[in-house]
């Protein structure tokens, strides 16, 4: 009831409506399983804080820092609930005079309004952080089906992300830009943008997937609308070797999940045989790395220095393999959850995620369902694109909350079953 009322009062500003409804369409209360989880985390945070007060330890401080937001929000949520129950008690008390009564009613209303957003924030703070969230990233853009037109649009998408990143101060650089044979510069075969800012992975990871474009291409003579696709992959960019303080992300460490055995990588310098050293002065600096177990191939030829090309190629290979391993792990989790959730909620990189329709000047994201009728602004990397990305971020965290609830519920059930068995015995 209350929720409906809230929606009626709220003016619907623009077409963000579908996603707004989705994001707020979570029940008012926080499910008990999540609440226990939150309490556990808060207790851990309190324990760590007292320990930190005695002696400083970088590891503990890091963990405490991760837990701090959920502990703080839980506290806020608790106080809000407390004040609601206090106000209720005040209202039910027949001795309360009229003036106080009206004040309490008002207060209760505002507290109740604050509660849903609080519980939403609480849930989101419980989502485990993505392992790559703090890292800079690489954005790989490749044309898919659609021939020349896909290459042209891939180039436009590269420009779109470049302007978006520089507008947000994320320091983008083009690591690789392969264009198709021919006189034109703007038909991409492949491009890789490095976004150096920490946390860029978290900002851009909404963009992984297949982007579809519907328009009359420049190459079309009969005015027909074509549909073509461009695939975008956002990969984590690991810090230079050794400097990583975080053990889990140190790719030089053989025990790390993201370690690559150099023995498993074939290095090919694309250079013919013959004499070497002073006898020749070849300017060929291209390099190709193949990770044999997964057959991942990376080639680099943009820089004049072979040394620099080799370094970039290794960076890209590591990024690709880490992303693939992370993807595999997530897939495993999805398999585990499937029973509890009854379906797959995750969208893989093979799924179509967004459509850019020139004829209707429309951009639709298929995950959050948002539609903007300001395509130019989106393609210019402006606020339009940002609001689309924001809506997707909300969508992703909603999915993650759902998954988390399902997981916790499954865990709780199992626990109960075990206890029941023990009791039987």
């Amino acid at each position: 009831m209350l929720q409906c009322g809230r929606f009626m009062r709220q003016p619907l500003r623009f077409s963000l409506q579908p996603f707004l409804r989705r994001s707020l369409h979570t029940d008012l209360g926080v499910s008990p399983v999540l609440l226990t989880r939150a309490r556990l985390l808060a207790a851990e945070h309190a324990k760590l804080s007292t320990r930190l007060a005695d002696s400083f330890d970088a590891k503990i401080a890091k963990r405490a820092g991760e837990l701090a937001p959920s502990a703080a929000i839980l506290k806020e949520w608790d106080t809000a609930n407390e004040s609601i129950s206090e106000l209720k008690a005040l209202l039910e008390d027949p001795e309360t005079d009229a003036e106080l009564h009206s004040l309490a009613t008002e207060d209760l209303e505002t507290s109740r309004q604050a509660l849903p957003s609080l519980s939403d924030r609480l849930k989101k703070s419980l989502i485990p952080r993505h392992p790559f969230a703090d890292l800079p990233c690489l954005v790989e853009i490749r044309p898919g089906a659609g021939g020349d037109e896909a290459g042209l649009f891939a180039y436009e998408m590269m420009r779109m992300y470049m302007t978006l990143c520089s507008r947000k101060g994320l320091r983008p650089t083009i690591l690789k830009q392969d264009v198709e044979d021919g006189p034109s510069e703007d038909r991409l075969l492949e491009a890789v943008i490095e976004v150096e800012a920490d946390g860029a992975y978290d900002i851009l990871r909404t963009e992984s997937g297949v982007h579809r474009v519907q328009r009359v291409p420049a190459t079309e003579t009969k005015g027909r609308t074509h549909t073509s696709a461009v695939s975008v992959m956002v990969l984590p960019s690991f810090p230079e070797s050794g400097s990583a303080s975080d053990h889990a992300l140190n790719f030089d460490d053989p025990t790390s999940d993201y370690y690559i055995d150099p023995q498993e990588v074939r290095v090919e310098k694309m250079r013919a045989g013959g004499a070497g050293g002073q006898h020749v002065n070849k300017t060929e600096s291209a390099i190709r790395l193949t990770h044999i177990p997964t057959n991942t191939v990376v080639s680099m030829q943009d820089e004049r220095s072979q040394h620099a090309n080799r370094r970039t190629a290794w960076q890209m290979l590591r990024a690709k393999i880490a992303e693939a391993r992370q993807e595999a792990r997530e897939q495993e989790l999805v398999q585990l959850r499937r029973g509890a959730m009854g379906g797959v909620a995750k969208m893989g990189r093979g799924d179509k995620i967004r459509t850019y329709n020139y004829g209707q000047s429309r951009c639709t994201d298929h995950r959050s369902g948002i539609t903007l009728h300001n395509l130019d602004d989106v393609l210019a990397g402006g606020d339009g694109l940002e609001s689309v990305m924001d809506s997707v971020r909300t969508w992703i965290s909603d999915r993650e909350v759902e998954a988390m609830v399902a997981e916790e519920m499954a865990k709780a059930e199992e626990q109960e079953k075990k206890e029941a068995k023990q009791r039987k015995k």
Binding site: D181, G182, P183, P262, Q263, R266, V267, E268, K269, M270, R271, A272, G273, G274, A275, G276, G277, Q278, H279, V280, N281, K282, T283, E284, S285, A286, I287, Q301, D302, E303, R304, S305, Q306, H307, A308
Partner: protein, 383 residues
């Protein structure tokens, strides 16, 4: 060299009329495309920086440098520089252009020297454990590593070694060359990389470039100092620095050198003419840096091939300097093996560990050397 197929030429022409010109030197379409991109960037850059009224339009300039390139003129002389490690080495006609092979040897040599120095350091630490761990934290204050780079050319080896080793060690690096043009370019490169921030400011005092003829035994008539003159001064300077130390050990200080590295001329006159040496190298790079000049007065080296005379001489210098590590670039595996046998005939093999690098198949693949005709280096380590 296989002929370029006409279909490739046609395809290249359709893509860009300048590409067939570059194809003459590059041989493959991919590498010609890359060169065209670099040349175009260079043409645009020069047209922006120069006064507009004094220069030709960039397209005209681009086609003129492409034609120059098609005659085999080295790309690095046109662009003016070549990346080497993280450095940018300026290249001028008359001085040999740094090769990627050399880059790999320098990286390997730096790794080896670092390993040896750190081992020694930790050994010293065990000896005087009561001195606490002060000497690991004060690495830059420790005794400098002495490095000698013979036939330095552009100075690329000297500068890259400094860039690689200076974060952990105190250094004293001397680059020696016979050519005044090379020396002035080497000094220019030092200043250029200092200015660009590729080298730390210590480089200006740690690095010295000197002119000397390492092949001359007697002081020559034309005034070029011999290596003996130079090393005499080198040692004298050393001793005045360490005067107070000399009181403690009364024996005269021996010459010392932690690393002796060289990329000397090593191409035989036959290989220079018969097509093994590429046209671009033969026509436009200095013969002085490629083919050892015959030395009629060196009669003792009857059993040494004319292309190997530099190694004979450098090995001799390395024994006298008691060099801990000696790294010599060679043209191919046969030459490397000859250098190894020269070494075993000249010095007691028990005192040294010798290897030809890269030897292992995976090293060759990793560093991009091809197994048959490619260059190698000989690493001699005193044990």
């Amino acid at each position: 060299m296989p002929r370029i197929r006409p279909s490739t030429l046609i395809k290249a022409y359709q893509e860009n009329p300048l590409l067939p010109l570059l194809l003459k030197e590059c041989r493959t379409l991919e590498s010609a495309r890359n060169e065209l991109r670099w040349l175009r960037e260079h043409a645009l850059r020069t047209s922006q920086t120069r006064q507009p009224q004094t220069t030709t339009p960039w397209r005209t300039y681009l086609s003129s440098i492409c034609r120059q390139r098609s005659r085999g003129y080295p790309l690095q002389y046109i662009l003016g520089d070549q990346p080497f490690g993280d450095l940018e080495i300026l290249c001028r006609p008359g001085v040999l252009i740094p090769r990627p092979d050399t880059e790999s040897y320098v990286l390997q040599a730096a790794k080896l020297v670092e390993q040896i120095a750190l081992e020694k350091l930790s050994g010293n630490k065990e000896d005087k454990e009561d001195k606490e761990d002060s000497d690991t934290t004060n690495v830059p204050q420790s005794k400098p590593l002495q490095i000698l780079d013979l036939c330095t050319g552009t100075g690329c080896i000297t500068l890259l070694l400094h860039a690689l080793l200076s974060p952990r060690f105190n250094l004293r690096i001397t680059g020696i060359d016979i050519s005044p043009a090379a020396l002035s370019l080497a000094r220019k490169n030092l200043a250029h990389n200092l200015q660009a921030g590729h080298l730390t400011h210590r480089a200006s005092t740690d690095i010295k470039f000197h002119r000397a003829d390492i092949m001359a035994v007697n002081p020559s008539s034309n005034g070029t100092p011999t290596i003996e003159n130079l090393l005499g001064e080198y040692v004298a300077a050393e001793e005045s620095d360490h005067d107070h130390e000399r009181d403690q050990d009364s024996s005269p200080r021996e010459l010392e050198c932690d690393l002796l590295i060289s990329n000397p001329p090593y191409i035989s006159t036959a290989d220079f003419r018969n097509g093994t040496t590429a046209r671009s190298v033969r026509l436009f790079e200095p013969r002085l840096a490629l083919v050892p000049a015959p030395r009629p007065h060196l009669t003792t080296t009857a059993d040494v091939r004319p292309e190997d005379i530099f190694y004979d001489r450098i090995l001799d210098i390395s024994y006298r300097l008691r060099s801990k590590v000696t790294v010599l670039e060679c043209g191919d595996i046969q030459q490397a093996e000859r250098v190894v046998s020269m070494h075993t005939s000249m010095a007691p093999p028990a005192e040294f560990r010798v290897q030809i690098w890269p030897w292992a198949e995976e090293d060759m693949a990793f560093y991009g050397f091809h197994s048959s005709g490619g260059s190698r280096c000989v690493i001699i380590q005193r044990v």
